[in-house]
Point group: C2
Chain length 340, copies 2
């Protein structure tokens, strides 16, 4: 399977043409639009080899060639350079993100920005609680047997939860509880809290013990178990570009997948190192998303990663452009978070 340079150039040309025109590309059109220095017949021979190797295929016997998932993969890995962003895009990013007023705002602006720049569906994970630390825990009495627990994370996320107490608790005890809880948990990474919560119960003075036990349950749920991840989504209307040709005519499976937070998290959440990940076609694990590709990366203040963001679109997408945009947006968001 020796693919010489010219065959690779042919593959690159096919991918680029197909991405921009959305139509199967034939040998003649190829030599006209690219300076390959050879005749259509030669290109045809190269194409035959590329097809044999599984990088391209023919939708119909007498149509041009279309890249396969494998072809896109080779293109992304070896044939493309990341496009530098245009100055206009840089300006758009900066303009869009200044003036963000809290975390919700940052996330919403980011996801819309991504959708707008890439013209794909954009997904942004809220800073993961598992990777955050506790900045402050607040207990607000609602009635004598009810507390509102408010947890503020260092990433700016705020989670709240109603706590039903086993019995009436006087106000001064709430103050004690608040102090104890904060002494123990403030500054701790959320993933480290379970043992701390345990000692919290054990060390609690006798009269607070039952209340603290209840509180501990809710704390664990809130800090660790609960829907700890949140997701923002934008740009679903972009799925309708390319007039139903992408996604083999039905948006249904895509829309269904996008409604499942679990799916989205798996797609953009598990970025291990700070690299950009590209999932092409059925490289992702979801049948519904076989016709889609995902470009995602992690973001966070400084070098730490607190969440993921990315875009989803047809396999026929502008990978170099989208990779560049996703990276740039992630970097800007990271800087923004670092300021808080």
């Amino acid at each position: 399977m020796g693919l010489d340079d010219r065959k690779l150039a042919v593959l690159r040309a096919i991918v680029e043409d197909y991405v921009s025109t959305q139509e199967p590309v034939g040998s003649k059109a190829l030599v006209e639009r690219h300076q390959l220095g050879v005749s259509p017949a030669t290109v045809r021979n190269d194409m035959a080899v590329l097809e044999e190797e599984g990088y391209i295929r023919q939708p119909h016997t007498s149509a041009g060639r279309v890249p396969t998932d494998r072809g896109y993969r080779l293109f992304v890995d070896r044939l493309s350079r990341v496009k530098p962003l245009s100055p206009a895009e840089r300006r758009a990013i900066e303009r869009f993100l200044v003036g963000a007023v809290d975390l919700d705002d940052v996330v919403h602006r980011t996801v819309r920005l991504l959708a707008q720049l890439t013209r794909q569906v954009a997904v942004v994970q809220y800073p993961s609680l598992a990777r955050s630390s506790v900045r402050h825990l607040e207990l607000v009495p609602i009635s004598t047997t009810r507390l509102m627990l408010v947890m503020i994370a260092d990433t700016g996320r705020v989670e709240q939860r109603l706590v039903e107490l086993p019995g009436p608790v006087p106000a001064e005890n709430v103050t004690d509880l608040r102090r104890l809880v904060n002494e123990k948990l403030t500054g701790a990474r959320l993933s480290d809290t379970p043992p701390l919560v345990q000692t919290l119960v054990e060390e609690a003075p006798a009269e607070l013990r039952p209340t603290m036990t209840t509180l501990a349950t809710v704390l664990l749920e809130t800090l660790v178990e609960r829907h700890e991840e949140r997701i923002a989504l934008a740009g679903t209307a972009n799925l309708t570009r390319g007039g139903l040709l992408d996604f083999q005519g039905s948006l249904r499976p895509i829309l269904e997948a996008l409604e499942e937070e679990v799916v989205l998290l798996k797609l953009i959440g598990e970025t291990e190192p700070s690299t950009t990940r590209v999932l092409i076609g059925d490289e992702n694990e979801f049948d519904n998303l076989r016709a889609a590709s995902v470009v995602s990366t992690g973001y966070g203040p400084g070098a730490t990663i607190v969440g993921g963001l990315g875009v989803l679109g047809p396999t026929r997408m502008d990978y170099p452009g989208n990779i560049a945009t996703v990276r740039a947006v992630a970097r800007y968001v990271g800087e923004l978070l670092a300021q808080n």
Copy 2:
């Protein structure tokens, strides 16, 4: 424009058949499927009148009839009874909503429930801050010049905002600020807060004056001006049922409209009394949604209304069923909120 009873019955039959079969309905099929007691020829005459009056139309010269927006309107207003919910649906509602753990949870469960029961796109507005009261305001020092302001509303909504102070403020002053702010604002309806915030600044002791001024600005923004409304959405995949026949082949405009919170709020938010509102076709003000209908109603604990919820789908929808479901869900959610 005298429409006698039989003509109305014909219209009703046309709407019902078309909604269930999705195909233009002809005179012969009509008399077969409904006991109208007359011949197809008679029905044809009635149809001619209904068409002249604008209640139905023919997609093509030799096809059956299809209701117009006006026809649906008449059907909804005068020809349909609200369907009672099936026991299965009642059970589904109850099962779905028990175990909701906080407001976010309630809203999410509700919107998914609505989407599932109606098989349409569901929209739920979070309890409007304008109609809520302040339960508690919390100030959490982040650094000497930064506070996190957390506002807890009686509806369970929690809003947070970062406050950049004009200068360093010692911890005991924060305690004073917290006390002053809560004394003045706790229990107040959010819509009534602006003058209260004003007096808060005026009455503040001199040494707190600058800090309080800054805080007041943020308070006003948070309580009144900011994106005070939030929206949850589910079931967009349901738009693809009816295989592109609804929405004249393009989901684009619909998806675009659904991404605009402002649009959704106008659709489901402005329910004045506790009545159910039905917007058919271009009765709504958005060009993008000409091919869609919206069924919405308000919800809230007891008789007060704190937000809206509803469903959006093709004009060809099961109005009686959807109206019943929307009402029932709104009532259950109201009860749930009343418990907190």
